[in-house]
Amino acid sequence: MSRLDALRGPSPPVDHNARSIAALAANPACHRRAVLDAAGIDKGKVVQHLGHPMQFGQSPFALIRSRQFKAIVKESGGAHLLRLLRELLGLAVEEAGYRDVEDVDEHAGRALLRKHTEQLLRSAAENRGDAATIVDHPLLKLNVAGYDVYLEPDVIAFQAQGKFHVVVIKTFAIIDDQAETAKVSAAAREAAVYVHALRVLFEQLRLDPQRVSHDIVLVCPENFRNFPTARLVDVRHQLEVLRRQLERLARIDTILDTLPPDLSLDLMMDGDTPTRSAAELGAAVSGIPARYAPECLSVCELAYFCRAEAKACGSLEALGRAVRDDLGGIESVSTVVNLATGAAVPSDDQVAVTERLRYARRIHGEVVA
């Protein structure tokens, strides 16, 4: 049993997906998340048991809608996609071959599906006459922080004139050519993970990774109808950020070495009920260093737990990066308050910050007086 399996206990591991990798990269310095993700721990169950249930995730309604829209985009051998790609990429009429990786076997394991994905992509890349233009349900593997994760994009890797494009299907609407920027960038971050994984695979197959385009195809419903429309989105920036952050992620082994050898995050499930005491589990989670920032609220299931913890110990991090950087060198909220009120004497490197704090306090006092 590996160290990670021991940490998790007998529960089955939770899979990574592009979203969770994008989130992992969003807070690369956080060891807690890195360890829990690498061990495949169900963070949702953990925080629920700890009394800080997560407040995000997709509603069942959104999931159904998303499934339906994907089915529309993919029906009849990706007929909508072909139309969109002919418009968007000038795809030749000859290029219309559709292959579904899952055709290999309804009950194939992931290893087999991944191998089949590789075969399809390789043969599509090596002989252009091969009819596989659209590859549906590809399964990719990516090494994240020393740990292999499978990516099951329900995207389609699409080959147009020798270049491969990642397709991402989302259900937010494009209205009069406009979509919500935040949603487009979230989709771009997710797609970047797939592009990255595809390029890694191409390298392993000794194919030119540059044949995987940095332009991804974002397919969305048009004007609230279920009619698909598509845009190219350049994810070079997201790719660069992702690559840097994946590199910076400490290798999971080195983090594990710093943890107590008998640490366990096992919920001790009895059927659907965790039997481990919340206090004990909380202490175990707290034993892994975290790096809470307000951004966590939108990307990490543990956010409410970590926020409560950060507040309880008066950490400045809880107030966000801007505040932390402004008050560079000071660790806790209480130190800040003491310096501002004059209850503490600043050390040499705190003098400048202290002056600013006292100035701000004076202005604030005048304004509210």
Partner: protein, 248 residues
């Protein structure tokens, strides 16, 4: 109809006469006859609905119109647009398995079976896609280009059917809607607004079909030969056996 109504009038008159004469036995028998005539009259006016054809016949009808293997959703849409629209997705789910069970228990006892399309690669059933057993095997093989050629072929057939209906003086709105939806992904098949024009759709679909057809046919036929030599009859119909009715 007129005869019936006259008979009813006569009967009522005779009943009045008989009852005035106090001939109760005759009144009873005349009443019974009147009820019988009235029932016949009502049925002539509102014929009782013909018992609905079973689901498998509807599916067969839809597939025959399409001429190619089709997904449940398409079959339901065709049935809605041209026939009675009694098929639901739920009814289709168990259908293929029932057909396989029936074939296994007494092979070839039905004139046709609703069976599977087979993936060219594995000869395994393509999920959710139905076909007709009387079609030549290669038509039921799905290679990389087949989803496209099948879409083009079935669109042409729907358009041709609409031409026939139009000539016969019918103009099924649902049918035109279906054609428009199918044609919207074929280059040059629809103008920007309004329902699709069958002539134009056929021209556009044939043009694209010409590009893919030969390659697709060759591939399908080669695979079909392999399937015919390798597979038992039941597997030629329902797919090479990962999950079969007996184990499912």
């Amino acid at each position: 109809m007129d005869g019936l109504e006259e008979r009813m009038l006569t009967l009522r008159r005779e009943i009045r006469v008989a009852s005035a004469a106090g001939d109760h036995a005759r009144v009873r028998s005349l009443r019974a006859e009147l009820r019988q005539v009235e029932r016949t009259w009502e049925e002539a006016i509102n014929p009782p609905p013909a018992p609905p054809a079973p689901v498998r016949e509807h599916v067969h009808q839809a597939l025959t119109l399409l001429g190619v293997p089709a997904a449940a959703k398409t079959i339901v849409a065709v049935d809605e647009s041209f026939f009675s629209g009694t098929i639901t997705n739920a009814k289709l789910t168990s259908l293929r398995r029932d057909e396989e069970r029936s074939f296994r228990s007494s092979p070839n006892s039905r004139p046709y079976y609703l069976c599977a399309a087979l993936s060219a690669e594995r000869l395994s059933p393509v999920r959710g896609v139905l076909a007709v057993s009387t079609w030549p095997l290669h038509r039921r093989i799905i290679g990389p280009l087949s989803p496209r050629t099948d879409l083009l072929t079935s669109t042409i057939r729907i358009a041709e059917h609409l031409q026939r209906l139009t000539r016969a003086g019918e103009s099924p709105l649902g049918g035109f809607r279906l054609l428009t939806a199918m044609a919207q992904n074929i280059p040059g098949a629809v103008a920007d607004f309004g329902p699709a024009d069958p002539d134009r759709v056929i021209t556009a679909a044939r043009a694209e079909l010409a590009v893919h057809e030969e390659k697709d046919q060759q591939h399908r036929k080669a695979v079909a030969e392999r399937a015919a030599s390798q597979l038992a009859e039941v597997n030629q119909l329902f797919g090479a056996g990962l999950r079969t009715a007996s184990t499912a």
